[in-house]
């Protein structure tokens, strides 16, 4: 990999990492387990490695943004995550900020194209 590609790759990863929490919070209104979340995000166009998502779910749970419960009724136990009321507040604030930043950046990009 060339140096330029490396720099771009790192920056893209940082950009992705920054938006990851918001995408998870937006996709956890309904209870979902780890693997189903990977699929949901993938279908929505966000590819995320399972080993990045699973620890993130735990971290968000620790921060009180997600709630979890074990379902033991099926053949093997599964841990389901849902957004908490605190998580909803944070998600809404993040969405506002996202829209604000997005409009600023779009404006900058339009000016740049001129």
């Amino acid at each position: 990999m060339k140096d330029d590609d490396k720099v771009l790759d790192n920056l893209l990863q940082e950009l992705k990492r920054g938006s990851l929490v918001l995408t998870v919070l937006l996709n956890s209104a309904e209870p979902c387990y780890g693997y189903s979340m990977v699929n949901n995000l993938s279908e929505a166009g966000i590819d995320i490695e399972q080993n990045t998502l699973y620890p993130l779910l735990r971290r968000l749970e620790k921060q009180g943004l997600l709630e979890s419960s074990w379902d033991t009724t099926e053949s093997r136990p599964r841990k389901y995550y849902t957004i908490s009321s605190e998580g909803k507040k944070i998600r809404d604030s993040l969405c506002k900020q996202w829209k604000k930043t997005n409009s600023v950046i779009e404006k900058m990009m339009t000016e740049d194209e001129k």
Partner: protein, 329 residues
Amino acid sequence: MILVDKYIYAIGQKLPLKSRNEIKTELKSLLLDEIEAKYGENPSEDNIKRAITEFGTPGSVAKKYSNSSSVIGSGFTDLYYLIMKIIVGALTIAFTTIFIVTLFTENPAGLDILKALVQVPLRVFQASLGGIGTLTIIFIIISRLCSDKEIDIESEWTIKELESINLTQEQESKIESIIALILIPVFIAFVILYPEFIQFLENSFEKSGLTLGNKVNMDVFKSFIPLFVLQGLLQIVYQIMLLKKEIKTKALYIFDASLSVFDLLVTITILKLGTMFIYAGGVNNGIFSYSTIGFKIFIVIGLFTGIGELLSKSIKYVKKEIEEKKSFM
């Protein structure tokens, strides 16, 4: 799915103790979901191997779960802990040896031996602080000089490494219980029916031509017999319960620890008692005189084992409690 269990076990060894069990349960569930989604309900061994390989090396998976930044590079953590254990172990052996040598060369009197005994863990602790401190500084420097990628000791990890893992059930050994259940009644019967075996041993010793300075006071020894029998009976009850349950329950942990405390108290009482021996001349150093050297070693070893066992039981119990609490949080 034994391969999955081995893989999860390998990850677990690298996870922080806190929440380890819960993370392992979750990871197993997640990995099985993936295997099922990709290869169906009856995956072949090759399918499982492929899924595990894609999931990542045990070290890389565990690293994602330990989000706290550490001053020592993750690639060095295992080595750091290994050397730390060696330092503490070597110091414990060294100070214990010094204690035993002092015991027989300086012949401390009375409760001085207990003071010397207490000094052993204190000295080990003090010296360990210095040793571990130096070790930590060295590892911090090395970690600063090498990046995590340079010290990735799992870069050549293959799934074959899982084959050497032996998954052991946390069941208590039945053999130990069975041996104890045979020997304890024999001991009880011996002490009740033939307490004079001590005199027989003393006489046999004297027949060899050597002089025995002090002899066991049989009246005092006999007064201790009910206590020895009680110790034995309690052990029998404990071993039977352990055999029935197969695993150490919370109640059994408490029972076992209480028995150890009781045994320690009996040993200390005997140590403090000045009347256990009849002194036949020479310096009266009580139980700590040269002539009772065999008994002395027996008591000291018993005391050491008792304290060690008690400590290990307490640590095991606390660890189990923490893990149980975390897994239900």
